[in-house]
């Protein structure tokens, strides 16, 4: 039987996809399995299952302190980044500032500049300010690093919101402030929440800058993991990995649900008919 090119390609493509997915997902699955291992080493497949590593993890004050540090850094920095990032997005999208693109470039810089450079320069400056190795320092750093993620999502959403809506609100008697809170903000809220979630994940996950800025007493989870991996490797690390994985997946799930929620009122009714009626 002859195989024609148009029959071969879809199969090759499918095979490639399966391979890529396998290599991306398989390590995660293995980590989850190992975290329930009964063996004292990172072996796969595990000889049996137990919850000992989770027990050990929760019993260890070092990990408890790492989780608490991560939370103390993540929550304020993500919230600050969301507020500042949203405000900046509104200014960039609606304001008539000269040099908007330069300002955008500056704010987005942490996403583009090699992280190691950012980390080193922050360390140098934070030393002068005396916030090196403190929670405050980490909050400052993570806020700077996560603002671009907020702006990225909020700006995209703002560009989809018709600016005539704000003009309409003004002619209807709303001040700029009220027009923003009553009209624009509810429309970009899903993007603002997405930005907040992204900021949380990025902060929780961030390693390089955190290594530079942490100290033995102030050590977030990612740094604690990193220093543990260099020492004795036991399945505790897999247990941590599993917890982080669950955290990230939950955030992703919430984000997806938020977007579905937002689309729902729009999808009902006569959307198709309207699309045909309004050629815009």
């Amino acid at each position: 039987m002859l195989l024609r090119a148009d029959m071969v390609w879809p199969r090759v493509r499918a095979a490639l996809c399966v391979l890529i997915i396998t290599f991306l997902i398989a390590p995660m699955v293995i980590v989850v399995i190992i975290s329930f291992s009964s063996a004292p080493f990172l072996t796969f497949p595990p000889p049996g299952f137990s919850l000992q590593w989770y027990a050990k993890l929760f019993a260890n004050p070092l990990w408890a302190s790492a989780f608490s540090t991560s939370a103390k850094v993540m929550i304020p920095s993500a919230l600050t980044a969301t507020v500042v990032g949203t405000a900046a997005s509104v200014g960039l999208a609606r304001g008539r500032l000269p040099g908007t693109s330069i300002i955008t470039g500056f704010i987005m810089a942490p996403m583009i500049v090699p992280v190691i450079i950012t980390a080193a320069s922050m360390l140098a400056v934070f030393r002068i300010w005396g916030v090196e190795g403190t929670v405050t320092g980490l909050i400052l750093a993570h806020t700077t690093l996560t603002i671009p993620y907020v702006i990225f999502t909020v700006l995209a959403s703002l560009r989809l919101v018709d600016d005539q809506l704000e003009s309409a609100a003004l002619t209807l008697g709303a001040t700029r402030w009220r027009a923003f809170w009553r009209v624009t903000f509810p429309l970009i809220l899903p993007a603002v929440l997405s930005g907040l979630l992204f900021a949380m994940v990025v902060s929780f996950d961030e390693l390089i800058v955190s290594i530079f800025l942490s100290s033995p007493t102030v050590r977030p989870v990612a740094v604690q993991m990193w220093s543990d991996v260099r020492g004795d490797v036991d399945p505790t690390i897999a247990a941590i990995g599993t917890i982080i994985l669950v955290f990230s997946l939950s955030v992703l799930l919430i984000e997806t649900l938020l977007h579905r929620q937002r689309k729902r009122p729009a999808d009902t009714g006569q959307a198709d008919e309207l699309a045909a009626e309004r050629p815009r």
Partner: protein, 367 residues
Amino acid sequence: MTTGLLELHEVRKVYGAVTAVDAVSLNLAEGEFLSLLGPSGSGKTTTLQMIAGLVMPTSGGIMLSGRPIGPLPPYKRDIGMVFQNYALFPHMTVAGNVAFPLEMRGVGKAEIARKVETVLKLVELPAHADRYPRQLSGGQQQRIALARAIVFEPKLLLMDEPLGALDKRLREQMQIEIKHLHERLGVSIIYVTHDQDEALVMSDRIAVFNAGRIEQIGAADVLYEQPATRFVAEFIGESNILAGRVIEAKGDTCIIDVLGQRLRAQSTGPFATAGTAVLISVRPERVRLAHTSSAVPDAENRLSGQVSEVIYMGSSRKYVISLAGGNPLTAVQQADGDPARRFTVGDAVVATWGSADAVTLHDTPGS
């Protein structure tokens, strides 16, 4: 004219090197329906936005009810505005949208509910209060946008091409409805459109915009019968424009030499003095045609030529006549079935019209 509600004095808007609106002055009477008509980019929407307060004029003054409103932000002007794409708030229900201007004015809850109900009845959508804008058709969205702009009883309502996104039939229906609403509410309306038919159907007066200026402002029939410029003559309806030279000006008519023929036309300005080059505008439906062979009716103005094109338009026929000098002349004749007034391509014809049907225009190059 009754008392003036709105007055624009030499209003100008400059964006960098571009003058979007150039020295526009106009008066709006209370209860008047004024259309701003012009091609896109002629400054009509910018003018509207300056009245609304969304765009600040570079210079000039705007008075509302005798009070200068230049420094007032839009939310203090109490002017209703309907936007081209309706600008309904997608996250609010119909009732929420209509209640918005009342909430902003601190109206009580019960009062809001009553007013929303009344205005939704007025736009004939009382059962749609709990729907979201996207669940409505274009025409329904248009009505809600209108309801929202009038619910707080503004004295002045601005409409920016509000029917532009609707299909032809719905547009015609909405034109009549807006006109009825205007009569019932007694609100003054400034209506921006690029559709001359819409302007003719709806307006008390029309301001014709071109390149940031008002070319002419007046009632529809005045603009049609006595266009002040070539632009107006060609933008409102169709016009035959003939170039000639004034031989003699006598009171409100003048005699003009066109292609060697002496034609009479209304004189509309002091520019038409003997010897000056002018244009004559004649509406195609005012031109009567006759076969050269038949008895040509007596008329003040006559030009002969040959039929070069016949366009069937149902109730009428449009003929393009090639004049002796080669210039085209368009004539529209009612299709009344009289064979003496049926012409075919190649027929030698005489075109005639009365002097009252021809208007002398300034021969300004470029416009």
